[in-house]
């Protein structure tokens, strides 16, 4: 790293990355080896969380040597910990020793039937090997036992999307939204899936959920784009009657206005001028407006 930072700055950056769940193994390893490792005693109790963080980051960078050091330090401090055992499992996974990893996770589950992490790692092993159908099956079995684990519903959604099984992916997002009705990102993702599925009914659902996402967070640019596109599609290709066209033309117009304001306040003059973004938005809007009296 070119810039030199203090021990405290490095420590704060690592904490921020833990809180925001940023995945940047390279950065974590550099911060640890460059600025923290020789003063690790100053971290006090935070040291163990940092070891865990550095271990996972090291695995991401194929620094198995560093990961092993972290695991050894943690094993010494917490000899019977399942949380440390899981890191051992991750180590085997990173080394491609999937059978040993799977065996370790099975042992964890035998000792503790309610352990969610070990079960999820078994799904991850299947995913890493490209065995998507098996991963989906295993995750479905898991969710029968742990049906409130919305992160797993999200993962299952993504697995279905990898297989382009949009209707099952939509079902998963419905579960996520039910347990997190105020999260704009979930409404937006659901809308994107419905939009992709196509057809009038799905397009209407898409428009509604994009609109709900904007209501929950007016700064969600993806959702605004979604409203504009869905409304335009509904006003043109999927139009049912003059009244429907008019309503959708108004939705589209409103969305275009919001986006224009955003681009004018956030993007630079040069950006707008060079990319011609406002003209592109306007051109799209015109499609929905040119519906005449038919």
């Amino acid at each position: 790293m070119a810039t030199h930072i203090t021990f405290d700055e490095a420590r704060t950056i690592l904490k921020k990355m833990r809180d925001e769940q940023v995945r940047d193994g390279d950065m974590v390893v550099k911060l640890w080896e460059g600025f923290l490792i020789h003063h690790s005693h100053k971290l006090a109790d935070e040291l163990w969380m940092v070891y865990e963080q550095v271990c996972i980051a090291a695995l991401d960078c194929r620094r198995l040597d560093l990961a092993e050091e972290c695991i050894e330090a943690l094993q010494y401090k917490f000899p019977d910990s399942m949380r440390v055992k899981r890191l051992e499992g991750l180590f085997y996974e990173a080394d491609g020793r999937y059978n040993e990893a799977d065996k370790l996770y099975t042992e964890i589950i035998e000792k503790d039937n309610t352990n969610m992490i070990a079960r999820k790692r078994q799904v991850a092993i299947l995913k890493a090997q490209g065995k998507m159908a098996e991963a989906i099956q295993k995750l479905n079995e898991y969710l029968k036992k742990f049906m409130t684990d919305y992160e797993s519903w999200m993962e299952l959604c993504d697995l279905y999307l990898c297989e382009f099984d949009y209707s099952n992916a939509a079902f998963c997002m419905e579960e996520v939204i039910m347990s997190n009705p105020h999260n704009h990102l979930f409404h937006q993702k659901y809308a994107e899936i419905r939009y992709t599925m196509g057809g009038a009914e799905n397009m209407e659902l898409a428009r509604s959920y994009f609109a709900q996402a904007v209501k929950l967070n007016p700064n969600n640019t993806r959702a605004l784009n979604g409203v504009l596109l869905a409304a335009t599609n509904l006003a043109t290709a999927y139009s049912k009657g003059a009244k429907e066209k008019q309503i959708n033309a108004r939705y589209a117009s409103w969305a275009e206005e919001q986006l224009t304001v955003k681009y004018k306040t956030q993007a630079t003059d040069e950006q707008r001028k060079e990319t011609k973004v406002l003209e592109s938005l306007r051109k799209l809007l015109e499609l929905s407006q040119n519906v005449g009296g038919s």
Binding site: K127, T196, L229, Q266, Q271, K276
Partner: protein
């Protein structure tokens, strides 16, 4: 048979995008000179717009991006002539459903349009060959192109230098743009880095 070449700016941005998100799939489009496509049906790619690293199989943001990029292309005499994709799994180079769908859509406008499937194993500084397989859309199917060497040796060298310098941290894709509209997907700063003499 269309001639396919990528200049240093186009190639480097593709490699940097794949390197920036090692844990995710990425995709983007390649821009070719319109005049060359019309005159000699050859694809001379001169720029790249990295698109997404989140939810690659979904339509709306892709449509929004293509609309904006088409508007941009018209003013620069460019066309969207190619699509690249790196799958999230390290060993997976399959030309999957989303790559085929986008490829087909592009070839509706530009029959010579092609799809680049990135080989994740070749995204590293010591790589000496181009990091993808090229597919062309012919007879309603995608076939691997037998054209090798779409880039010059200096280009691959430049990409290696940029990887070592971690220039990918500065790369902006359309997802970054949607998160914050001041992020410019034209990547002016990266373009300057690329054009600096070695």
């Amino acid at each position: 048979m269309a001639d396919i070449t990528l200049n240093v700016q186009a190639y480097c941005k593709v490699i940097l995008h794949a390197a920036k998100y090692p844990h995710a799939g990425v995709c983007g489009v390649l821009l070719a000179e319109e005049s060359k496509v019309k005159e000699s049906k050859s694809l001379k790619f001169v720029d790249c717009v990295p698109l997404f690293h989140i939810s690659l199989g979904l339509a709306p943001m892709l449509e929004a991006a293509l609309l904006q990029i088409e508007g941009y292309c018209k003013t620069k005499g460019l066309v969207i002539g190619g699509y690249y994709q790196a799958n999230p799994n390290y060993d997976d180079q399959t030309l999957n459903h989303s790559a085929k769908t986008v490829g087909r859509k592009l070839s509706d406008h530009i029959p010579e349009a092609c799809v680049f499937m990135i080989d994740n194993r070749r995204i590293f500084p010591e790589s000496v060959s181009e990091a993808y397989k090229v597919y062309l859309f012919k007879d309603n199917n995608f076939k691997e192109s037998d054209k090798r060497e779409t880039v010059e040796e200096e280009t691959i060298q430049k990409a290696s230098d940029l990887l070592r310098a971690e220039a990918y941290r500065k790369l902006i894709d359309f997802d970054n743009h949607l998160d914050d509209l001041s992020n410019d997907w034209r990547n002016v700063e990266i373009n300057q880095l690329i054009s600096q003499c070695v």
